[in-house]
């Protein structure tokens, strides 16, 4: 059977990995290529890179980093951040990305999902969503979690999958950075609504949080940033622990 995946996420700004808490107060961490090497040897199943730079220079720096990572690390690479057009897809795929994640770009223009799925295949298109509870509803947020779109997040996910998204990253703004565990309630709602792989993001603080996460059989992967970057949780130890808990892991 398929192993559950453990995915470190690298937010890259101006060529450096940064990670914030509740999306604010970014803190400089390290060199992305160094970190990718480290994660590859420690057993990461996939790497996610988000380009959070706005400037054109920053983007060039980012694709350069991506190319360097992809030329020496041979596990799946997902790339996101500022993806708005098919040209953006094309650019990162040529630099070695395997999957491309869209978030605000798809909110601004939902047809990007179907256009990209037609051109590159469903498996290449990842719909990433930032979700927060508002008035008893799971609400979709845009622009890095700063803007309430008013859209029901679960309906958005269903629509995205129908249009060709091959995988969903669900980031709960409510649990992000809090390190008290993944948002199991929100994830349960999503896995009951879609049939594509679901990657859970936001809230992991310790190894037990991942064991809890994979009790929902609809979850395929757990994603985290700072707990891996700071070595609070070591990926190899985490995977050994999860296997001892009966979760299928690639070791």
């Amino acid at each position: 059977m398929l192993a559950k995946r453990i995915i470190p996420c690298l937010d890259v700004k101006n060529g450096r990995v940064v990670k914030g808490t509740n999306f604010e107060g970014l803190r400089d961490m390290a060199d992305p290529v160094e970190m990718a090497r480290f994660y590859n040897t420690s057993g990461a199943d996939e790497l996610v890179f988000y380009d959070i730079t706005a400037s054109a220079e920053g983007r060039t720096l980012f694709t350069d980093i991506l190319r360097r990572v992809a030329s020496e690390i041979f596990i799946p690479l997902t790339v996101g951040g500022g993806i708005k057009t098919l040209d953006d897809f094309d650019c990162v795929l040529k630099c070695g990305a395997d999957k491309v994640s869209v978030n605000s770009g798809a909110i601004a223009d939902p047809s990007i999902i179907s256009a990209a799925a037609r051109k590159y295949g469903d498996q290449c298109v990842v719909l990433s969503m930032d979700v927060k509870r508002v008035d008893g509803q799971f609400r979709l947020f845009a622009k890095g979690g700063r803007e309430d779109t008013g859209i029901d997040a679960m309906d958005w996910a269903v629509r995205g999958v129908k249009n060709g998204a091959g995988e969903i990253v669900l980031n709960s703004i409510d649990t992000d950075g809090v390190k008290r565990g993944f948002d199991m309630e929100m994830l349960q709602e999503l896995t009951s609504r879609v049939q594509v792989p679901v990657i859970a993001s936001g809230g992991a603080g310790k190894m037990e949080d991942f064991a809890e996460l994979f009790k929902n059989p609809g979850i395929d992967a757990g994603l985290a940033a700072s707990i891996f970057h700071t070595q609070q949780v070591n990926i190899r130890e985490l995977k050994q622990y999860l296997r001892s808990q009966g979760v299928e892991m690639r070791l």
Binding site: A3, N40, S71, F74, P76, K94, D122, Q123, G166
Partner: protein
């Protein structure tokens, strides 16, 4: 030199980089001279079978590939492996290259548990059924990376290794003569995948 067949399908960045990382000389080409001169040939591929087969036919290279596949080690990867079979029923019936006996069918039809997700995407453990020099550096049960919705069937005689997905033993590695195929992506399967490519380069 390893020639990677260029027929306008797929992203070859990782494949080229992985061979380079192994210290191997590789070139993406559609030149008949280069394909003839190469020590071995890799047929990559992603996308839909019908489109890829049509593109491969357009290059006019099929008769040459048929000849070369008898002379030197040949490896089809992912859709490149599926093209090796006799036929596929992905969006209509299509003839394959017929280098390996068998057919390509929708994984969904054979899965009894309809809750299982298709595409079969992620890391699955590869079980060796028949030992072979391609597994020289590979340990039985290591994980490899798959992304596909169709799979090779009725190819038992050529199957070297499989991965279990629900009730289906997904054809992972096939071999017929000097022709090999992997359904998974060795160039995305970490160290284990690199070791398979290394063994292929030493065949």
């Amino acid at each position: 030199m390893i020639a990677i067949v260029d027929y306008g399908v797929g992203n070859l960045f990782s494949l080229c980089s992985s061979l380079k990382a192994l210290g191997l000389e590789a070139e993406v080409t559609n030149s008949p001279e280069k394909l003839r001169a190469a020590d071995r040939i890799i047929l990559p591929g992603v996308g839909a079978f019908g489109d890829a087969k049509a593109k491969l036919e357009e290059t006019g290279l099929v008769p040459l590939l048929r000849e070369e596949a008898e002379k030197k080690p040949f490896l089809g990867i992912c859709l490149g492996m599926q093209l090796l079979f006799e036929r596929s029923c992905e969006y209509g019936e299509h003839a394959g290259l017929g280098f390996v006996p068998g057919e390509v069918v929708d994984l969904r039809e054979d899965l009894e548990d309809k809750q299982l997700k298709v595409p079969h995407m992620g890391w699955n453990s590869l079980q060796i059924k028949t030992d072979d020099p391609i597994f020289k550096y590979f340990k039985d049960g290591e994980y490899v990376y798959y992304v596909h919705s169709f799979y090779g069937r009725k190819c038992e005689g050529s199957t070297l290794a499989t991965s279990q997905y629900g009730n289906v033993a997904v054809t992972g590695v096939v071999k017929s003569g000097r022709v090999y195929g992997t359904q998974f992506h060795p160039e995305k399967s970490g160290d284990a995948g690199l070791r398979l490519l290394k063994a292929f380069a030493e065949l």
